[in-house]
């Protein structure tokens, strides 16, 4: 299937196309007589035109990250709530915070961006039952904010549906959220713990980090496999 990663059925809200993808896969069960790879012959249909965010957010002020972020969320909230009502679902909640607890999600992200560190949950972010250990929780808190933004603007009536690249470009070039994510990524870069660079690679997609590849690697002289094993323990909260 020649679709972007993350879209195995091709396209949202297009039952006919999704059914055709499914039928093509299932029909292999009746035609194949050995392990078989067949290319799906159709591209996923794309919307007309170029996506553009239908709501204009104020230019984020460098010195007022929290105020800028909260202002954006206030502006987006009616669209988020409408999209959530229409779809009957939201994907926000990956960190463990309930959708109604987005204030605590913001407080968490701001505290980390302002230097609370990557070991302890910020005291200002009490309330939600966070379900990931630090530092991976930072990644899921950011992902909750990204989901909030994307769900708010991804189905503006009359607009072509955005690609993930559209969303990343919008977030990183035009929003306070993008600036917040980069600020956290810079703190990770300055921390000099190579294990933390995994988190940077899970926060910022390739192509949106000015410093080059988003993931790091083992320090000089360390066996890559050993580095991966100790990084895995660290990221699973099994090792400080």
């Amino acid at each position: 299937m020649p679709f972007p990663l993350g879209r195995p059925l091709g396209v949202a809200d297009n039952p006919d196309f999704q059914r055709d993808v499914l039928r093509s896969a299932l029909e292999l069960l009746e035609s194949a007589t050995e392990p078989t790879i067949v290319d799906y012959p159709h591209e996923a249909p794309e919307g007309e035109g170029v996506w553009a965010c239908a709501i204009e957010l104020p230019t984020p002020e460098v010195s007022e990250l929290e105020a800028s972020l909260r202002r954006e969320i206030d502006l987006l909230m009616p669209r988020y709530e409408e999209a959530r009502r229409r779809r009957g679902r939201t994907t926000l909640g990956m960190s463990g915070a309930k959708p109604e607890e987005i204030d605590a999600v913001v407080s968490f992200a701001i505290a980390v961006a302002e230097g609370s560190g990557f070991e302890e949950i910020p005291k200002s972010a009490s309330g939600p039952e966070w379900i990931h250990p630090m530092p991976m929780l930072v990644r899921f808190v950011v992902e909750d904010l990204r989901a909030f933004y994307q769900e708010s603007v991804a189905s503006d009536n009359g607009a072509a549906p955005p690609s993930q690249h559209d969303m990343h470009a919008w977030i990183f070039e035009q929003t306070a959220l993008g600036r917040l994510i980069k600020q956290i990524a810079q703190l990770i870069s300055d921390d000099h713990d190579p294990r933390l660079l995994f988190v940077r690679g899970l926060l910022i997609p390739e192509g949106f980090w000015e410093g080059g590849p988003t993931f790091g690697g083992p320090p000089p002289g360390e066996d890559p496999r050993e580095f991966l094993i100790r990084s895995r323990r660290y990221l699973r909260g099994q090792e400080a």
């Binding site: 990663l5 879209r7 059925l9 009746e30 679902r89 909640g93 990956m94 994307q150 699973r236």
Partner: protein, 159 residues
Amino acid sequence: MVRLSDLHPEEAEHMLQRAEGLRRREFDFDATSWITPAPLAESTIALITTAALHRRDDIPFRFADTGFRQIPDDIDRNDLVQSHISVNFDRTHYQRDLNVVLPLDRMHELADAGEIDGVSPMHFSILGATDAFMLEPSAAEMAERMHNLGVNTALLVPV
């Protein structure tokens, strides 16, 4: 699967390294006998998504998690969240329509039309970013659970 040419070069290189890692493991397809599937009209199908979807009160997938989570067929769609770790894949369509990664509605339409026999009362979710070989114990346990549910066909839906 996305074309390598549609990926950022760093991500494409990562994919090639993963593929090379799998090739080095030399999985022997010939060691496993070919199973002739049931005709589609007699197939009861369970979905396996690699999107790391889980219920809100499930234990989330951890980094390199090798386990699986169960998703009831009649789940409240708002009860599903995702703890896949990659930031490099498209979530915009999944956020609009769950069927893009877990086609529950489409499967029931095929069942209602008689194209398949039925849909499993339970589906399964794994973290696709995990080393595939490390998932083998989970695969065996999922297969046993499917068998006990009367499922005779599994459809892997890789994100």
